[in-house]
């Protein structure tokens, strides 16, 4: 056997087990999800092929639209708020030296926490008096109490807050890496030209950070679209209430699949989620290419 052939055999030996794994645990399940989405199946009985009926039913289901609406509300609130906050912090942190490491650590540590644990901490904070810290503090300042998780309008932002909080550290660290990568000479040239701080920000910093911003937008969009842990742990009985006001797509999928065992219906919803994520990724690639 020639050396090349021998090495090709070695290569295939090395990757044979991983290939079997990826086929069995990634590709086959992906195809399976699509195929289940075309059936009516309660997991124990017979699978009945029903074509696109699940998708048609979803289209006519007002609750599903409410759930999709919630999911996009998480996204549309979460992405801009977290990006703006993390940019401001990263940009400020980048300018200071005193206590830099400790401050950065304080912003970063929430990223290392377990979402489930922190969901319960925030749930505790949101309780009405005398239990909840926030209402306790508001009370002492003479401000009206808030309902937070009990209100259909305040619950969603209240559930979103810990998700934003936990993700900030990651975004700050990535933004700071992006800021470090901007050549100092650009700033020096701008200073010689007498450009104001705002102009430097608008014409050097932000354009140079474009790939970072696109990347973080996509990563955090995907994150907020997949929100689950916080909602499951912060709402009564993990229902995504009150009155479905906080229920996101993944929780809806979980309930359909593992509480009602409507596997076909649940799989159809995962296909919807997959399609949304795919569109976002394609948009990202487009934006980066044109940049």
């Amino acid at each position: 056997m020639s050396i090349d052939k021998k090495r090709a055999v070695t290569a295939w030996c090395f990757i044979s087990v991983p290939i079997v794994y990826f086929i069995l645990v990634r590709f086959y399940p992906t195809l399976d999800a699509f195929s289940i989405s075309l059936t009516d199946w309660n997991i124990v009985g017979k699978k009945t092929y029903i074509g696109f009926d699940n998708f048609v039913r979803l289209w006519h289901d007002p609750v599903f639209w409410q759930v999709l609406g919630n999911t996009f509300e998480y996204l549309l609130l979460g992405v801009p708020i977290s990006l703006i906050l993390s940019f401001i912090v990263a940009h400020s942190l980048d300018q200071i030296r005193f206590g830099h490491g400790v401050l950065r650590a304080c912003y970063f540590i929430p990223f290392l926490t377990t979402a489930v644990a922190m969901a319960w901490v925030w749930r505790w904070f949101y309780q009405p008096v005398p239990v909840g810290m926030i209402n306790l503090a508001l009370g002492q300042m003479g401000i009206k109490q808030l309902d937070f998780l009990r209100s259909t309008t305040e619950a969603l932002p209240a559930v979103l807050a810990p998700a934003i909080w936990a993700g900030l550290g990651f975004q700050i660290v990535i933004f700071m890496a992006g800021l470090r990568a901007i050549p100092q000479s650009y700033y020096e040239a701008a200073k010689i030209d007498g450009a104001s701080g705002f102009r430097i920000l608008r014409e050097i910093t932000l354009p140079q950070l474009r790939p970072t911003i696109v990347f973080l937008t996509v990563i955090s969009s995907i994150g907020f679209l997949r929100i689950f842990d916080q909602v499951y742990n912060m709402t009564q009985e993990g229902e995504g209430g009150p009155l479905n006001a906080t229920r996101p797509l993944v929780l809806h999928i979980y309930k359909a699949a593992f509480e009602r065992f409507e596997m076909g219906m649940a799989a159809a919803q995962t296909v919807v989620l997959f399609t949304i994520l795919l569109i976002i990724t394609i948009i990202q690639l487009r934006v980066l290419k044109n940049g």
Binding site: A8, F14, F22, A33, A117, M118, F170, A267
Partner: protein
């Protein structure tokens, strides 16, 4: 640097103060969580951070009367096993794709890369059925099997192995080392920083994972910390000091690791994030 000589401008002091306030706000939930875990039930309604009589009774109760210790062990076991497996297989595949020329190499790489597009949420239903058919529901293997290898890790390791010079490997071949030993003894040590990054975010991801462990486990003996904490907190409803103690136990290990490995962790997150 010229900056050192520049006088401290008041603007910088204001920025520093705002950053400091922000940092305090960021840490507040974590601080209050730990603070409450050392309080008796009648004290947690007070805003005071340090209890007048701090107690370890919540922790003692938690470990003696609930299954927390077991969940803790399960979490460690699952996270460690997944991390070791990911480190080995992802680098093996990344190494092979980077350093061997063979037909189908590109196809394999693109196929593995394409798995990054598939969200876990889409796979949990087929995984559940797979686990049921193989009798893996409610078992350790059931918990671990979806995360034995990752597309992201393969991609990351391939990038790093590409920077390893072929000369090193050829020299080892001339010395008569087997291909597998070249991989483990020559190539792996050369990409140690990438391995530590991969280890950090694989462990963290598994330690905090909730959805799949929630789905695949049904008996309390197999819960991981997040699943156990979730069910436990649902039962303990108004005993917030107990819930906070549980949350503290879930958080403490990653915080401790961070304190010791801060530099590596931040670098690892940047690596994993930017490459992902």
């Amino acid at each position: 640097m010229a900056e050192i000589k520049a006088p401290i401008r008041p603007g910088k002091i204001i920025i520093w103060c705002l950053l400091f306030i922000g940092a305090v706000i960021m840490m507040t939930p974590i601080i209050f969580m730990f603070s409450a875990s050392f309080k008796y039930n009648d004290e947690i309604y007070e805003l005071a951070l340090i209890s007048s009589e701090p107690t370890l009774s919540n922790y003692i109760y938690l470990f003696e009367n609930t299954e927390f210790l077991l969940w803790f062990k399960n979490s460690i076991l699952v996270a460690l096993a997944s991390t070791v497996s990911v480190l080995f297989f992802d680098s093996l595949v990344g190494y092979t794709l980077a350093k061997f020329r063979f037909r189908g190499r590109k196809l394999v790489f693109i196929a593995i890369l394409s798995t990054l597009m598939i969200p876990t949420e889409m796979l949990v239903i087929p995984w559940y059925i797979l686990a049921r058919d193989f009798g893996l529901l409610d078992s350790y293997i059931g918990l671990i099997f979806p995360g034995i290898m990752t597309g992201l890790g393969v991609f990351l390791m391939k990038q790093f192995f590409e920077s390893v010079p072929d000369d090193y490997l050829d020299a080892a071949r001339i010395d008569g080392l087997s291909e597998f030993r070249i991989f483990t003894q020559i190539a792996m040590p050369l990409v140690a920083p990438a391995l530590s990054a991969l280890a950090i975010f694989t462990f963290l991801g598994n330690w905090t994972a909730f959805l799949w462990p929630l789905i695949v486990t049904s008996s309390a003996e197999l819960f991981t910390i997040p699943v156990g904490l979730s069910s436990f907190s649902g039962e303990f409803q108004s005993e917030w000091e107990m819930i906070m103690t549980g949350a503290a136990v879930a958080t403490l290990p990653t915080l401790l690791v961070f304190l010791f490995l801060q530099r590596y962790i931040i670098r690892g997150v940047i690596l994993g994030g930017l490459k992902g």
